[in-house]
């Protein structure tokens, strides 16, 4: 598994996807800052920037970015026709998919930590004396959990991508609408607890929730993770069937 993870990271180094995504995260942070600073928010309150950056980036951009990376990594072997060479080695395809999902999971956490770093440094420049260690740690926990949670909720969309074959674009459109719908699902308490995107906010501590609702939201996230495992497992079985059919022919 270690070797597969290393190989996946090497492949990513050759592609510009990581750099593009880092740049996208920085731009998102910039737009939220200028918009928040000039108009809506009270920029004297501690944590205003860290709060709004977390919400808007999760609703509009980061789930789609994470889904894009995940589906790109999983679909690229088929697209670039490198899957044949991998089968010749032979590589365990189930392990390969797990390695790709682990890299996406790490990427999801790192993207949120990058966003945290940008927002924290900006807050420190704006009002360093008002920032306490407690506030910083609570936001760090929130961003970290958000990274884990967003990966879990978009993982079924990543897992659908290989089934869609040439229609993997659909997974991107689905991810964007799915995350955007979170904006409306926060209207009622039930949808806020059970809709995966808003459930992430409950688990990360952005929303004040009761212990019961927190548990329900955590179960929703775990169910999303289980669904993606189920989908990827089904994909591996399908590939094995296809391979044995080819051998018979």
């Amino acid at each position: 598994m270690g070797l597969l993870l290393w190989a996946e990271l090497q492949k990513l180094r050759r592609s510009n996807i990581i750099l593009v995504n880092i740049f996208a995260t920085i731009l998102v942070a910039m737009f939220v800052f200028f918009s928040g600073k000039t108009t809506v928010y009270d920029s004297h309150a501690v944590g205003w920037y860290m709060t709004i950056a977390l919400v808007w980036s999760t609703i509009f951009v980061l789930p789609a970015v994470i889904a894009l990376l995940g589906s790109y990594m999983i679909c690229r072997e088929e697209q670039d026709d490198t899957i044949k060479s991998l089968r010749l080695i032979p590589i365990n395809e189930a392990k390969l998919t797990v390695a790709k999902m682990i890299v996406t999971f790490i990427f999801s956490i790192l993207v949120y930590l990058l966003l945290f770093t940008i927002t924290f440094l900006t807050e420190a420049v704006l009002h360093f004396s008002d920032l306490s260690l407690e506030v910083i740690l609570s936001f760090l926990k929130m961003y970290f959990l958000q990274g884990i949670g967003v990966f879990l909720v978009v993982s079924p969309i990543i897992a659908i991508a290989p089934y869609l074959k040439k229609s993997y674009w659909l997974s991107l459109v689905l991810a964007e609408i799915y995350s955007f719908a979170g904006l409306f699902m926060s209207m009622s308490n039930i949808s806020k607890t059970f809709y995966p995107i808003t459930a992430v906010f409950g688990v990360s501590g952005y929303y004040d929730t009761t212990t019961r609702d927190w548990i329900y939201s955590a179960i929703v996230l775990l169910l999303c993770g289980c669904l993606s495992i189920f989908l990827l497992n089904g994909l591996n079985h399908r590939q094995k069937r296809k391979k044995s059919n080819e051998e018979i022919v």
Partner: protein, 249 residues
Amino acid sequence: MRALLNLIQIEFCKLRRKKLIWLMLLSAFVMPFFAFLYFRYFGNTGLDPVMFYKWSAFGYTIFIILPFVLGVLSIMLIHDENRYDMLKQLWIVPVSKMGYFFSKFFVVLIYSICFMLITALASVLFSVIPNYVEFEWSSILFLVEKCIEIGVLTAFATLPILATSVSQEGYILPVCVTLIYVFAGIFIVQVNAYFHPLSCILVIIARNGVIPGGLPEINVILALLIICVWGSFSILLANITLARESKVE
């Protein structure tokens, strides 16, 4: 002119093979459905039709749903031809560089208008059937007129994404550009409505104060000029890139 019409016809013939593009039209129902949920949650009936349409067609549809869908469509149209190395054959025919670009643009334009007409139809269905607004031809004609305006203007506002897709071989950068472009549109409108093409669309459709809660100062000429400037730069970029690509090939 006839050659361009032929190219557009060929583009539509190619679209018949892409089922996903027709599936993406379903996203036209997203905002009318959320508007329905929103007014249902607050239990409002006997609404001013424009208030309902503001949510279903003149709000997030302009800023998120339609530009994102058109962005993905533009990337799909360009990327699939790059991927299968069809450009060489097109240059051999020969197809003019800008004819190729504009044929793609006209597909986006017609798709955009169709998308907005479906949004208009869905808005009427989701507002009249649950009895939120009364059925009036005048308000429906107003909605259709505004939807056609939005469809045309958003297609022009998507020109930068189309130009980015033409300038890139892969799809990662254009997808990220689409996400950031759409995200920037939402946030820049609060700072300056006359910078981003998407915020300029809001200025144009809200002229004469027809949409409640619109922008206080409206300069339609400036908004149109901004869209033209962005469009011209995009066409220039596409022209330079395509000329360079055809020389290399």
